[in-house]
């Protein structure tokens, strides 16, 4: 694979998967600069691993694995996994735009979901993020590297935890 082919392949992969990669980084870290930094590191690892992809797994599975593994190491290097949401400002919207209310509601729901995810353990955060991305149990099992049954048990446990946190936050 020459450089131009590699660049072309890389661009194709990113246009198909960048939103998912970014959301995954978004579930791990909270400040935009940090998320951008992790996103960039994931891209760099995808770029440097591209020639090693042999097609023995689906390309999306391969990308998820790289993204998750990068996030695992990234947090340890930066030691910034104890960040708080109070530092996050809402994005600014024009109050006069027609769908302002709807946009704000979506924003608030997303923030509430992120706050709940942040209260989960690292491993649980990974599982729930993959589930929220709409991945099947089989795919999640393949990404994490555990059996399908074990994955099912874990997913049910994490889902229950998440709903409990959401409900608790709602009542506060």
């Amino acid at each position: 694979m020459n450089v131009n082919q590699k660049e072309q392949r890389f661009k194709e992969l990113l246009s198909e998967n960048q939103a998912m990669i970014y959301r995954l980084c978004y579930a791990y870290l909270y400040h935009k600069d940090e998320v951008d930094d992790l996103f960039q590191e994931v891209m760099l690892n995808i770029w440097s691993s591209l020639e090693k992809f042999r097609g023995d797994a689906k390309i999306s599975t391969w990308i998820y694995r790289i993204a998750i593994n990068t996030a695992l190491i990234y947090n340890k290097k930066k030691k910034k996994d104890t960040l708080f949401f109070k530092d996050i400002a809402y994005e600014t919207y024009d109050k006069h735009q027609d769908d302002y209310g709807e946009v704000m509601e979506k924003e608030e729901n997303l923030l509430a979901l992120r706050k709940a995810i942040a209260k989960l353990k690292k491993q649980d955060r990974i599982i729930i993020t993959l589930l929220l991305e709409g991945l099947k149990y089989e795919e999640i099992a393949e990404i994490i590297g555990i059996s399908l049954n074990h994955t099912g048990v874990k997913i049910n446990r994490v889902k229950a935890k998440l709903f409990k946190i959401l409900s608790k936050n709602e009542n506060q």
Binding site: L44, S48, K52, K77, L110, L113
Partner: protein
């Protein structure tokens, strides 16, 4: 937000689409990758310059030292050669065995990746300890060979005393060096390995 359905949460989650933000500048991704590659290349270049300078100074220092000593015997030359080349060999081997994130297999399933990283970190320390032990042993042999020549004018008792003293000093330095290195290793890698061990369990 009141819901007990995962589908609702999936909708909220997937509704956040950073693709627009990322696609705002079509060259953004390419630029950021190139920026990272350049940054990494620059870092590697600085490290390589540093390594070359370190080797250069080491060589110059030793050559100057041996020039002033005026070595004449075969074992003197062997000893000087060992002292000259063993640190260089040690540095080269160390740079190749040490833990580097660029050498990791990022596309492994998460559980395998955790084991892979833990093994790499563990091997890094084990191999360093082996390398350091051999380096000190070879250095002790080299210095003693060189001192055979340097001390040739002294009587046997004095020579044995000095050889034992040098050897003892190097052994002490070996243990001190190993202790410092182990402390630094733990400080650098414990946050990573502890967390990964926790995840593994």
């Amino acid at each position: 937000m009141k819901t007990n359905k995962i589908n609702d949460l999936q909708e909220i989650w997937q509704d956040y689409n950073p693709a627009n933000y990322l696609a705002h500048d079509p060259d953004r991704i390419k630029k950021s990758i190139l920026h990272s590659v350049k940054k990494t290349s620059k870092k590697i270049l600085i490290q390589n310059i540093g390594k070359s300078l370190a080797i250069g100074f080491l060589l110059m220092g030793f050559i100057f030292l041996f020039y002033t000593i005026d070595i004449r015997t075969f074992y003197g030359f062997i000893g000087a050669g060992i002292i000259l080349f063993s640190p260089l060999l040690m540095l080269i081997v160390y740079w190749n065995i040490r833990f580097a994130s660029a050498k990791l297999n990022w596309s492994l399933p998460q559980d395998d990746f955790i084991s892979h990283v833990l093994l790499k970190v563990k091997n890094h320390h084990i191999q360093f300890k082996k390398l350091f032990k051999w380096f000190v042993l070879v250095l002790i042999a080299g210095i003693n060979l060189l001192y055979l020549e340097i001390l040739s004018s002294l009587n046997l008792h004095e020579r044995i005393g000095i050889h034992l003293g040098i050897t003892f000093l190097l052994v002490i330095l070996y243990f001190v060096g190993l202790k410092i290195r182990t402390h630094k290793f733990r400080k650098d890698f414990s946050p990573l390995t502890d967390e990964l061990e926790k995840l593994k369990n």
